[in-house]
Amino acid sequence: MTEKKTPQLDELEKGQWPSFVTEIKKAAATNAASEDLLHLLERSYEDRIGHWKHGGIVGVRGYGGGVIGRYTDLPEEYPNLAEFHTIRLAQPAGWFYDSKALRSICDIWEKHGSGLTNFHGSTGDIIMLGTTTDHIQPAFDEFSEAGFDLGGSGSDLRSPSCCVGPARCEYACYDTLEACHNITNEYQDEIHRPMWPYKFKIKFSGCANDCTASIARSDCSVIGTWRDTIQIDQDAVKQYAADGLDIQDRVCDKCPTRCLKFNSETKELTVIGEDCTRCMHCINYMPKAIRAGKVKGATILFGGKSTIVQSAFMSWVIVPFMKMESEDDFAEFKDLMGRVWEWWDENGKTRERIGETIYRLGMGKFLRECELPPVPQMVFRPRANPYVFWPQDEIIK
């Protein structure tokens, strides 16, 4: 094996960005599967195709998801990749770690896996990359012992994730970490035992900057906002002006609703509260002078997903404003979630994301059956066609 060369991959050790090839090589030094992986990848670079077989179901006792089965299509040549499964571990909210926890992961994976990992997968899990069928259960047992549990895979709730929020961000309109942690814990069954038409993702962002890309990447996006008006500290505004910020140009002219007026004489900044759409732009630019309103909470949006099959959807507004402060508020969220999942479970086709189900059956039906009050905030604009389904009880018989 050590004879084999990897000329193409070696090229990728050059350059200033840290190299994943170097990482594989480091793992390969003590792990035969990683060594095979290096060569299999070189082979892919030659053939310009992947060398993994389709699918394969493996798992741990008591769970239906969390492990992705993987087998190479060239097991004779790369025997250590005959089985090379991935274990998804649920990350802590906000991806905060101490070195002790990280080292415990390392120790376990050294024993049971390839020595390779992704911090993190695109959904947010810790991806333990490459192990054999035999090792899955023991690895899980040890991770479990160390305080880690599996994330989602298959037609289940995927590991929710959240932005750094109040832990380190002045913009957070609710406690994203607590919400994410609390709600994730509530739904351990839904995460571990696939039972829905398809996958379901939730992401929590503390404000409309949406640092978890929730609107694009989750079926349910929980985005922090406020119900009243931004707060402006005029002294701080003056300070920004004195420090040379061109408030008119950089802030007012870029406000999407043009509702900020800067008086260049008094150096005061005022807002037409009812016009502001809470886009965050002015706050981003002048965090010392402008803050969110006082009545904070979140907008709940549904439907986000990527391209396959019906086209990519971005989540759309379903609840313009929901309080997100206390256990009670989380209960309200969970109540909503329950109704929505039940509806989707009943109406969704196999491999149909909730956004696609709503699109297929119509928002009206979805709202009525989930008991959600229709409001203009749900749409950019009303329908252009006159094709209204008329409820029988509004018809004169």
């Binding site: 990728l12 990447r217 950089r250």
Partner: protein, 352 residues
């Protein structure tokens, strides 16, 4: 023994004391230099975060290395970002520069803040997936090397968020990125009757095709494909191993631009295709890195300060984007799927 359903570790146990003390009390932040965030609390406390680029596919050595640094400079605390960067969390300002020096020494780049290129959100590619049309880590490395200067500086017009997905499943969620690299197949799946007959539910397979290109072939207990209707999405392959879609000669990458996620200023937008295909030329995908750099440079040259890719293009118009970048326009870039109508120019106004 395993504990079922214990859930993720409690974040509260892993946040550093300074964050515990100032949780929800931050009042503003500054970026003293690229890669360093300084958050100030209403208590007067100051937290420094040093952001470090990671290849994401990492060895345990790498992780332990991070732990060593965290132990040495941050009492063992660190976090990862939503774009897979590492953030060291320091309560002691005086340790920032020594940490940066230690990182630099180890070849770990500091940056990704403010008007910079952050890490590329990406996927598995040939490393671990069964359906890729291109590799993930390889292209990401090549592009990040090429645009390295923009990670460690903040001289771009605005944030630049690049996404990569190795097939149309788009696990990299590239569909709303300033710039997206997406692996695309270009040939009709080759049907393997045997594999299909073995384990595939034919009606589900037929139903999985968004364009209705798949027809049952009861004789073979398999299916056939109407070639003309297939747009190589690979959804059938996800349903059945018998629909072999990888094609070393014809797979490659498409480039999309102008997506955005945040609500700041303009509403979130989808990335849009500007180059339908570039070949897979490992190890360094020169056609891809060139195209990406060219687009980024045209953006730098023409955008106003603060203008993200989408804002710039929407202001100047897509017509002019093609003129300025000299990218050839073709009918492949015109939508012909469900929501195509909304993309047609239903107006007599445009630029040349």
């Amino acid at each position: 023994m395993s504990i079922l359903d214990q859930g993720p570790p409690d974040y509260k146990k892993m946040i550093p004391p300074i964050i515990k003390d100032n949780y929800g009390k931050w009042i503003y932040h500054e970026i003293p230099k690229p890669g360093v965030l300084k958050h100030v609390s209403e208590t007067g406390d100051e937290l420094f975060s040093v952001r470090v680029g990671s290849p994401r596919l990492i060895s345990l050595d790498f992780v332990r290395n991070l732990c060593d640094l965290a132990d040495a400079y941050c009492d063992g605390y660190l976090r990862f970002t939503s774009r897979n960067n590492v953030e060291f969390l320091l309560s002691d300002a005086s340790k920032v520069e020594p940490l940066i020096a230690a990182l630099t020494e180890k070849g770990l780049p500091v940056g990704g803040t403010g008007a910079s290129l952050s890490n590329i959100v990406h996927t598995q590619g040939w490393i671990h997936c069964h359906t890729p049309a291109t590799d993930a880590s390889g292209i990401v490395k090549a592009v990040m090397d090429d645009l390295f200067e923009y990670f460690g500086s903040m001289k771009l017009p605005a944030k630049l968020r690049v996404g990569l997905a190795c097939c149309l499943n788009m696990c990299g969620a590239a569909h709303c990125s300033d710039l997206a690299i997406v692996g695309v197949h270009r040939t009709v799946p080759r049907i393997n009757d045997e594999k299909i007959a073995k384990g595939t539910e034919i009606p589900s397979l037929v139903a999985s095709c968004p364009t209705g290109a798949i027809r049952p072939n009861p004789k073979a207990k398999s299916v056939t494909i109407v070639d003309d209707k297939c747009m190589y999405c690979g959804n059938c392959y996800t349903m059945s191993p018998g629909m072999e879609i990888m094609d070393g000669k014809n797979d490659g990458c498409a480039i999309l631009v102008g997506g955005k996620v945040s609500n700041a200023r303009n509403v979130p937008s989808f990335s849009r295709m500007v180059i339908p295909f570039l070949p897979n030329n490992p190890p360094r995908w020169p056609e891809v890195t060139d195209a990406v750099r060219m687009i980024v440079e045209v953006w730098i040259a023409h955008a106003r300060k603060g203008e993200r890719m989408s804002e710039w293009i929407e202001r100047i118009g897509w017509e002019r984007f093609f003129t300025l970048t000299d990218i050839p326009f073709s009918d492949k870039l015109i939508d012909d799927y469900i929501f195509s109508r909304e993309t047609f120019r239903t107006s007599a106004t445009f630029k040349y």
